[in-house]
């Protein structure tokens, strides 16, 4: 009698056992794990290799000394480090305002989903996928030759600015889009103009996202060698840049030059410089992550 009213009266303990062959599940899980392991192991091996190889030269002299052909033990990356800072500084000064203003225009003022917006969108995405060497060719033709800026810091900065502009525009637009509509509506309903709303509400709310995108794209520019090689930055440089039109070298180019040298001391030097470049890149990415985590979503 009571048996009949129990809903689980036909329950069989065996039902809780494995119902089907899960071999494929396990194979798939292993595939995922191996893929992940390949990525991580490669990175670790690379890091261990460059750190052990460059270890003898990971000293202060690496940063404070100028490069020297005759004397690799005393050689340093000062001119390359300063060159990178100069080039990236001007790249940021050029690319940030243009990229952010373009993104604001596209996101806040142009007709949403209109033909113009779609056209620009497709083009920007394509530009972001263009290989950096192509930007080097463009920079060589336009900035170095046509504008006669030669092999200068500003030529490199203009070229790298064009290279990262699409990424800055795309990431800024995404950050702006993440600001909810009702913040804008609230502002506009108080009699704010569209420009006041963009400047006082949307932009400040999107700043963490914009900063993250900007830092990541600048860290990409710091690591670029190909377009700069094309622009003629390969020269052996033992001085720091002193202006926009100054000659220069950068860390990736200095590394490239040293790795071409047959002598072992230069290989050690190159490894040490690679470690320095990696530290700079990791530090920038860390700052980007820190900004993103510090300002957690409030809506």
């Amino acid at each position: 009698m009571s048996m009949q009213t129990r809903p689980d009266s036909d329950f069989n303990p065996a039902d809780l056992g494995q119902q089907s062959n899960r071999a494929w599940d396990r194979v798939f899980m292993w595939l995922l794990f191996i893929s992940l392991a390949i990525g991580i192991i490669t990175l670790v091996v690379l890091l261990v290799y460059v750190v052990t190889k460059g270890w003898p030269r990971l000293d202060l002299g690496l940063i404070t000394n100028m490069p020297s052909i005759r004397n690799p033990e005393q050689s340093g990356v000062q001119s390359a480090l300063m060159g990178s800072i100069w080039v990236i500084g001007f790249t940021a000064i050029i690319a940030l305002p243009i990229g952010i203003l373009a993104a604001i225009y596209l996101e806040e003022f142009s007709k949403q989903g209109g033909r113009f917006q779609r056209l620009v969108e497709v083009n920007i995405q394509n530009l972001a996928a263009v290989p950096s060497i192509v930007y080097g060719i463009l920079g060589l033709a336009v900035f170095a030759r046509a504008l006669a800026l030669g092999q200068s810091v500003i030529t490199a900065s203009l070229t790298l600015a064009l290279l990262i502009l699409p990424v800055i525009i795309i990431s800024t637009r995404e950050a702006l889009r993440a600001v909810p509509r009702n913040i804008r509506d609230g502002s506009l309903a108080l009699g704010a103009t569209e420009w006041q709303t963009a400047y006082r509400q949307t932009l400040p709310a999107a700043t963490p996202g914009i900063a993250t995108g900007v830092i990541l794209s600048l860290s990409r520019a710091i690591g670029e060698a190909a377009p700069l090689l094309l622009l003629g930055a390969v020269t052996f440089v033992t001085f720091n840049p002193d202006g926009m039109l100054s000659g220069y070298t950068t860390l990736p180019i200095q590394i490239f030059n040293w790795t071409k040298e047959p002598r072992e001391e230069f290989q050690v030097l190159a490894a040490a410089a690679i470690v320095l470049l990696l530290v700079i890149l990791l530090a920038m990415n860390f700052v980007a992550i820190w900004i993103r985590n510090r300002t957690q979503r409030r809506w």
Partner: protein, 283 residues
């Protein structure tokens, strides 16, 4: 022939069923004549004619999707911000066509404030939320005094006066909604539009907002959209009942069914649909 006659008779009976009881509103703030609002080709609300009385609370009630928010947003030209939205008919504010060529929507929104369904405080401090409107409008005078006065009017001052620099997100939902009302008051509007201001609030917070509305009535003209009939009955002086009608093509259009003093509309509704709705039989 017979079919045509029948459809004409149906059309006539439909048009007869609009019961605009309160046609005698002196000095109306808004006068609507045959107002329809479209999203692209879709007519979300059709042919609305009514007057909004000054200093009173007017409630828009009706089932969801009947165009209450759409109509409300046309009162301060917030629909301008939606691509494809447009309005036909005449919507006058103190006799001036709100959609006339000379009218600046920015100026309209300064005079006609709006409170939204979800409390949309800005990601700023409590003080900066209230000061935002006066700042963008470059209002003259002492900002501190204006912030205090606005928060006091919104019945929030005592709760926040020691924490003005704190983020507005630290407030409860009900406090946030009163902050939004304070923010609105700081611009010194004549009208406050409220679109389901209590939809996301608990009963105690709702009661506070309703008390506040009673406080503000008289000084401000308030139009509130609500799908809560008890709320309309509690707070409003006049009520407009809307519903969605299906046309021959199967499209739903919002229509104004009945409009009158709240007590009259709730105690003796003229239209059967109003009676069904307020007695909870549909919607």
């Amino acid at each position: 022939m017979n079919e045509l006659d029948a459809s004409i008779r149906i059309a006539e009976s439909l048009s007869e069923t609009r019961h605009e009881v309160s046609i005698d509103i002196p000095n109306p703030v808004f006068t609507l004549n045959g107002v329809s609002v479209y999203y692209g080709e879709y007519e979300a609300i059709r042919d609305v004619s009514l007057d909004i009385a000054q200093g009173e609370i007017t409630a828009f009630i009706g089932p969801s999707g009947c165009g209450k928010s759409t109509l409300l947003r046309s009162f301060n030209r917030m629909n301008d911000l939606i691509v494809g939205a447009r309005i036909t008919g005449r919507l006058a504010y103190h006799g001036t066509d709100l959609y006339g060529p000379e009218v600046d929507p920015i100026e309209v929104r300064r005079r006609i404030g709006m409170v939204f369904q979800k409390p949309n405080v800005f990601p700023k401090s409590i003080y900066d939320n209230v000061a935002y409107g006066p700042r963008v409008n470059k209002t003259k005078g002492n900002l501190d005094d204006l912030v205090e006065e606005s928060l006091t009017r919104a019945a929030l001052w005592d709760e926040v006066k020691d924490n003005l620099k704190k983020s507005a997100y630290a407030l409860s939902g009900g406090q946030q909604q009163r902050l939004v009302i304070a923010r609105c008051i700081a611009v010194r509007p004549e009208v406050i539009l409220m679109d389901e201001p209590c939809a996301s609030l608990d009963p105690i917070a709702t009661a506070k907002i309703e008390d506040l509305m009673h406080e503000l009535a008289g000084d401000y003209t308030i139009v509130i959209v609500t799908h809560n009939m008890q709320q309309a009955a509690r707070v409003s002086d006049r009520t407009a009942f809307f519903t969605a009608e299906v046309d021959d093509a199967g499209e739903r259009h919002g229509r104004l069914i009945e409009y009158g003093p709240t007590r009259q509309l709730f105690s003796a509704p003229v239209d059967q649909r109003t009676e069904d709705y307020i007695s909870g039989r549909f919607g």
